[in-house]
């Protein structure tokens, strides 16, 4: 199109009272009318409303407009709305440019004159830019109607069940020998105190038996390539050394295994397991694994084979090798969960120094019917504790470790207090900074625990020590002292206790960063995966077709986790149900005449979207993989790489209109 054929229509939105009182919209419209190539400029109360859009459509038809600028809110809000209007009227959807005069002018400028001047600059920039816009098209591609769920905790299990119920093929990957995650370690859940196993077990069985779910336990995702609708995923299946098809889960192998003193990970090292083991009785699948680091045959090459001898099904196979499996999925749900904060660096709390200092997960096991003590809250010496301290915010709300609130600790701490009182009758002190109980029936649970006689002390514990002020007092012998200020009474407390529970915060699971890098999902400074938008797209990520469920996105309790997992599953199903997706139009383009073949762009592209054409000695873009991030355009020294719709020319003209 020749430049003198460009006809621009400019529309200034009042946005109700959001823009108009601060920005003189009429003056801006008048100003816009005087800009080169502008055929018509109007202002209107709500451009995004149906009549507002009708204006644009009518003007395009009536005046032969071929470029549209709307000055209103942010592109994230309404760019799609106006692009659709352009398309309806018969011009390419990329012949549109938005100027944000609400967030960038009206809302952030005190003076009306300044706000109006800034709005004019932004409109001039949009007009200058839109004259250089090119028509762009996107393509429709078919999607694979299957979903990969990474992580078999409560979030991953729920996402898998919901997606499977919708009739989609689901692959659920769990790196541990059994699904269940952290929740399988709990005995009771707050605030209803219902039994975790009673909720979990049926779900685990459902996952194991679901006709649409293919379960890979003891497996890890090793690579993810491709794009929305067509992700190629490679899975590493670690050797169990047991033939799953033969094993009937009788458990005789575990009874006979002579290596019995391996700290049990599932029991937080509070008890022992054998070298051939199943992490817990209700494990799904109910097939044990042989720990190759401790098995006599595998680790030391010594004669043994006790398990093999007694296995009637002949399921033991010491020659099993790691296996790779390749699958193709349309969408991915990440549910990698969390890891409990390791309190050892907080030396003042004495974890790892004093045996009666426990982490919250250790306490969960201590209290669990399937735990090391069969659910009795006992000290290492076998006695019931008489005095117990629970310390909140260990590792959380602490700029030296994790600045954020881990959200679940207040509630589970109070659950602990209740359980200790109920099971042992011990006196319990809870040391908190603030009690955070925002949830259905949560505050009520707090009140209940208070009424049960738990001492709620508002003060962060300074230290836990075995120094006793009165060491000769036999009553206090062997006890620990918790030192804190009760900030409500301003008394310095030195409280002797038998047992201390550290309510540790939540951190991203180990290896979550690797999963993120593999898929291209970004994390925040703390390592939690970043959602696309906190409010508008809380389970989506910047990678189309990849969704988040549960704690991998941030600390969450079980109700929120399950709700989010259902949400993520709903989004994944909604995306795939149509059968096709549109590719992006704003993607990279590498000018073959300018490319020097240095492959810098190949190295900076995180989406693996750039290939090197050896024959021509130049780089080429895979349009399906490219996300239009612009890294290549920035890195390319000869400006051979550029992003469509963000070309140098377009951006320079935009800047020029503002700066010069």
């Amino acid at each position: 199109m020749k430049r003198d054929q460009i006809n621009i229509g400019v529309y200034i939105c009042h946005c109700g009272m959001n823009i108009s009182p601060k920005v003189d919209v009429e003056a801006v419209a008048e100003f816009a009318e005087g800009l080169a190539h502008v055929r018509i400029a109007r202002d209107y109360k709500f451009m995004c409303s149906s009549p507002g859009q009708e204006f644009i459509i009518d003007d395009i038809r009536q005046y032969g407009l071929n470029r549209i600028v709307v000055a209103s809110c942010s592109p994230r809000m309404h760019e799609a709305t106006f692009r659709n209007a352009c398309e309806t009227a018969g011009i390419n959807r990329h012949y549109f440019q938005m100027a944000n005069i609400r967030e960038q002018a009206a809302w952030v400028t005190l003076d009306t004159k300044e706000a109006t001047a800034k709005a004019m600059d932004l409109v001039a920039a949009a007009v200058a830019r839109v004259t250089y816009h090119r028509p762009l098209e996107s393509r429709e591609v078919k999607v694979n109607k299957s979903i990969l769920v990474i992580g078999g905790g409560i979030a991953g299990m729920q996402a898998a069940i919901s997606s499977g119920n919708a009739g989609y093929q689901v692959y659920l990957i769990e790196r541990e020998p059994s699904i269940g995650g952290h929740m399988a370690k709990f005995d009771k859940t707050f605030p209803t105190l219902d039994c975790a196993a009673c909720i979990m077990t049926p779900k685990m069985v459902e996952v194991g038996q679901h006709e649409s779910i293919r379960l890979f336990t003891y497996s890890e995702v090793v690579s993810v390539e491709g794009f929305v609708g067509n992700y190629s995923v490679r899975i590493l299946k670690k050797p169990r050394f047991i033939d799953e098809s033969k094993c009937n889960g009788c458990g005789i192998c575990m009874e006979k295994c002579p290596i019995k003193k391996i700290p049990s990970e599932f029991n937080e090292n509070l008890s022992f397991r054998t070298a051939i083991y199943s992490p817990f009785p209700q494990a799904v699948p109910n097939t044990p694994v042989i720990d190759p680091d401790h098995c006599r045959i595998l680790a030391e090459n010594k004669p043994c084979g006790a398990c093999e001898k007694f296995c009637e099904a002949g399921a033991i196979d010491f020659n099993q090798q790691p296996e790779h499996m390749d699958i193709t999925v349309g969408s991915i749900i990440i549910a990698t969960g969390f890891k409990a904060f390791d309190p050892e660096p907080l030396v003042q709390y004495g974890y790892g120094i004093y045996p009666e200092v426990y982490t919250s997960l250790e306490f969960e096991r201590l209290n669990n019917a399937t735990g090391p003590t069969g659910g009795s809250i006992l000290m290492k010496g076998g006695d019931f504790p008489k005095r117990v301290a629970i310390i909140h915010c260990v590792g959380s709300r602490d700029a030296q470790y994790r600045e954020y609130c881990s959200r679940v600790c207040c509630m589970y701490s109070m659950k602990f207090a209740h359980l200790v009182r109920e099971k042992t009758g011990a006196e319990v002190w809870e040391f908190y900074i603030d009690v955070r109980s925002p949830g259905k029936l949560y505050e009520e649970f707090y009140n209940r625990v208070q009424k049960e006689g738990v001492h709620m002390i508002r003060g962060r514990v300074a230290e836990v020590t075995d120094i006793l002020d009165d060491p000769e007092n036999s009553e206090d012998k062997g006890r620990l002292t918790v030192v804190a200020e009760n900030t409500l009474t301003r008394r310095m407390l030195r409280i002797p206790v038998d047992m201390v529970i550290l309510s540790v915060g939540l951190e991203p699971a180990e290896g979550a960063g690797d999963v993120g890098r593999m898929i291209g999902v970004s994390s925040d400074g703390n390592g939690w995966f970043t959602e696309l938008h906190a409010k508008l797209a809380p389970v989506s990520t910047v990678i189309k077709g990849v969704f988040l469920a549960g704690c991998c996105q941030g600390p969450k309790d079980i109700p929120d986790t399950v709700a989010q997992a259902m949400g993520a599953s709903g989004e994944a199903v909604a995306l795939l149900s149509k059968g096709t997706v549109m590719t992006r139009a704003e993607i990279s383009f590498i000018d073959p005449d300018l490319c020097a073949g240095c492959q810098t762009c190949v190295e900076v592209c995180v989406y693996n979207a750039i290939d090197f054409d050896e024959g021509r000695g130049i780089a080429t873009v895979n349009e399906l993989l490219c996300q239009g991030c612009g890294s290549c355009a920035v890195a390319c020294p000869s400006s051979a790489a550029s992003i469509k719709h963000f070309t140098n020319r377009q951006v320079m003209e935009e800047l020029e209109a503002i700066l010069i």
Binding site: R397, R460, T487
Partner: protein, 182 residues
């Protein structure tokens, strides 16, 4: 006393504004070896500063009871340099000519300060004698100890000093130049 001006002055000092980060958790008070002797716990002091109660803050004995053990500082979950802020409060109190209720520590520090200003070095015995003249009861209780120390050749009666104390007369000008607490 102009509480508002003093509050702003405190905020303008290096790290002064850090008290705004305080979440009143009490870790500092709990960690302090002498907080039960203080008029206000360090945590309360920060709340008072934020409320603009600067006179109450500067008249309190809290900062004078600080032993500079830095335990609060390494434990503070908000990374507030509590001990450093105590120094600022002590200096501000001196600038304002405020004598806290328990004035022994300022006296001791002042005696120390004057001695170093004059001689460039400190002689513990001289410190004890000069301070003792103001607070005879403390001296009496220490007299028995002094005899023990003397027996073990551990009391130095001849004052220590740098070679030519006149050389460091600029310390006095640094002292008089005191304008703003840094």
């Amino acid at each position: 006393m102009d509480d508002r001006r003093l509050q702003l002055k405190f905020y303008e000092t290096h790290d002064g504004k850090d008290v705004l980060k305080c979440i009143q958790c009490g870790t500092c008070s709990g960690s302090c070896p002498l907080s039960d002797k203080m008029d206000y716990a360090p945590r309360e002091l920060f709340a008072l500063i934020r409320d603009g109660e600067m006179e109450a803050v500067l008249r309190s004995n809290t900062q004078w009871y600080c032993v500079s053990c830095y335990q609060c500082m390494v434990r503070c979950p908000q990374e507030i340099p509590v001990t450093d802020l105590m120094y600022i409060l002590k200096q501000m109190a001196i600038e304002q000519g405020i004598s806290p209720k328990t004035a022994k520590m300022p006296d001791l520090y002042m005696t120390f300060y004057r001695e170093v200003l004059k001689k460039g070095r400190l002689t513990e015995a001289m410190l004890m004698i000069r301070y003792g003249m103001k607070h005879p009861t403390d001296t009496l209780s220490n007299a028995f100890l002094a005899v023990k120390l003397l027996k073990r050749r551990r009391l130095e009666i001849i004052p220590q000093s740098i070679k030519e104390p006149k050389r460091i007369s600029y310390l006095k000008s640094a002292d008089s130049e005191r304008t703003e607490t840094k």
